[in-house]
C-alpha cells in the first residue's frame, strides 16, 4: 500500500531526526538515577547560568510583546511611508544568522564602535555584560509576536473597532476593550514562541557575552562549556532541563492552537 509507505517514510524521518536522539539523552542522563543529574545541576555556576537566562528572558519578553503588538497594529491598521519596509524588516531576525546579529552589536557597542565611546565615558559596562546580552536576545526574538498578531488582526477586521469609535470610545479604550481581547490568543502564542527563543538563544549571546563563568554565562553557553570540559553528564543534565522547558512550550502551544481558530 502506497499510503502505508508514505506514512512509514514520514514517521521514520521524524523518529530518526527528532524523537530518537532526544530519547537517548533522557536515557543517558537518568541511567544512573536522578542523583548525578541533580548534582550536576546544583553547582553554583550552573545555577547562576539558569538565573541569568531567566533574567534575560523576563526582561526581553515583555518588551518584545509590546513592540510586537504595536508593530502589528501599525502594519495592519495604519498607512505610513516606509510601511512596506517595516513589514519586510520585521522578518529579518528570522532570516539572519544569530552570529551576524551578535557581531553587529559587538561592532556597534564595542570599544571602537559608534556607541562604544559613549558607554566608556559614562563608565557603563555594556559589552560582555547583561545589557548587550539583553539587546542581542531582544533582536533575535523580535518578530514572533508580530508574526502571530498580524494575520489575526487582518482576520478580525476593524468593524468592531469602528463601531466602538462611533460610540465615543477613545483609542486607548478601543484597544483595551475591543482589539486586545480579540487578539489575545495570538499574543499569548507569540509570547510562548518568544520565550522559547529567548531561553534557547546561543549564537548572538555567544558573541556579545564574553562567556565569563559565573557572570555572563547563560544556560545554553553552559551546555557547551560543560561539553568542552568533557563533563558529558553535566552537559546532558542542563540540556535535559532546557528540553523539558521546550516540551512544556510545545504542550502550551498545542493547548492554545485550537482556540486560535475563529469559532
Amino acid at each position: 500500500m502506497r499510503r502505508y509507505a508514505l506514512r512509514f517514510v514520514a514517521l521514520f524521518y521524524l523518529a530518526a531526526i527528532l524523537v530518537a536522539p532526544l530519547g537517548i539523552v533522557f536515557y543517558r542522563t537518568f541511567a544512573d538515577g536522578f542523583r548525578p543529574a541533580w548534582e550536576a545541576l546544583s553547582t553554583p555556576e550552573t545555577i547562576h547560568a539558569f538565573k541569568l537566562t531567566l533574567l534575560i528572558t523576563v526582561i526581553a519578553v515583555p518588551l518584545n510583546t509590546v513592540f510586537g503588538v504595536v508593530c502589528a497594529l501599525a502594519i495592519v491598521r495604519r498607512r505610513f511611508p516606509g510601511k512596506g519596509l517595516l513589514n519586510a524588516f520585521i522578518d529579518l531576525p528570522l532570516a539572519l544568522s544569530p552570529v551576524v546579529v551578535g557581531l553587529s552589536l559587538f561592532l556597534l557597542y564595542g570599544r571602537t564602535g559608534w556607541f562604544g565611546g559613549f558607554f566608556e565615558r559614562h563608565d557603563i559596562q555594556f559589552l560582555f555584560a547583561l545589557p548587550a546580552m539583553v539587546v542581542a536576545t531582544i533582536f533575535v526574538s523580535l518578530p514572533f509576536v508580530a508574526r502571530e498578531v498580524v494575520p489575526m488582526l487582518r482576520e478580525i477586521g476593524d468593524e468592531q473597532e469602528q463601531a466602538a469609535k462611533t460610540l465615543g470610545a477613545s483609542g486607548w479604550q478601543t484597544f483595551w476593550r475591543i482589539t486586545l481581547p480579540s487578539i489575545r490568543w495570538a499574543v499569548i502564542y507569540g509570547v510562548i514562541l518568544t520565550t522559547a527563543r529567548c531561553l534557547g538563544e546561543y549564537g548572538a549571546v555567544a558573541v556579545v557575552s564574553g562567556r565569563i563563568q559565573g557572570e555572563t554565562e547563560t544556560a545554553t553557553l553552559r551546555v557547551e562549556e560543560r561539553y568542552d570540559s568533557f563533563d558529558l553528564a553535566g552537559a546532558y543534565a542542563i540540556a535535559i532541563v532546557l528540553a523539558l522547558i521546550a516540551i512544556a512550550v510545545l504542550l502550551a502551544m498545542t493547548a492554545i492552537k485550537p482556540r486560535e481558530e475563529p469559532a
Partner: protein
Amino acid sequence: MLPIAALVWSSRSEGRQAFWDAVMSPQAVAALKLTVGAAFLVALVNAVLGTVTAWVLIRDDFRGKSVINSIIDLPFALPTIVAGLTLLALYGPQSPIGIDIAFSRLAIVAALMFVTLPFVVRTVQPVLSELDQEMEEAAASLGASELTTFRRVILPNILPGILSGFALGFAKAVGEIGSLVIISGNLPYKTEVSSVFILGQIESGNPAGAAAVAVVLLVISFAILLGVGAVRHFTTRYERA
C-alpha cells in the same frame, strides 16, 4: 537597523581591497561553500520529506497523529545547542546503534535537517488542508493517473508553500550555529561553516574579517527575504485573479 549599518560600515572601514581579501581568503571561501552547499542540500531534502510529512498529517489517519503534529514544532522550541547535543548522543562516538558521523559533513547535514524540519511542513500543511479533494477526484475520473494528478493538480497548488518553506529553511540553515558548534567539530576547510568561522574570527580578535563574511551572509538573508516576498506577492495575485 543601526547594528546592521555598523556591520556594513565596519566591513568597509579598511577599504574595499581588505574586504575582498577577507572574503576570498581560502578558509572563508571553504566555509562559505560548505555552508551554502549543505544548506541547499538540506533545504532540498526537507522540501521532499517535508511535503511527504505534511501529506501524511493531512490525508492519512492513524493513532497518535495529533502527537506527531505537535512534535513537528519541537525544533522551534528546543534550544539549538541541545539539538546538537542530542544528535551527537545518537549519532556520535557513543552511538548505541553503531552510527558514528560526529565531526563530519554528514553530521552538519543531520543537524541542519533537525533545525529546519518544521519550515516546509508548516508552510505546505495549511494549503494542503484547504485543497479541494473534488479536483483530484475529477482528474482521476477523467482518466489521469495518480502521478499525473499529483503533478498537474496538487503540485501547482502547494508549490508556493514548498518554495517559501524551502527558502526559509535555507536561510535558517545558512545562519545556523548553535546545533553545529558541538557536532561539527569545526575543522577549518572541512567542517567549519561560516557562522562558526565568524565566531572564531571574533574570538581571535579579527572583527573586520568577521564582518566581511558576515556581510556576505547578510546579503544572502536579504535575497531570501526578497524571494519569499516575491513568492507571496505572486501567489496572492494568483488568488485574486
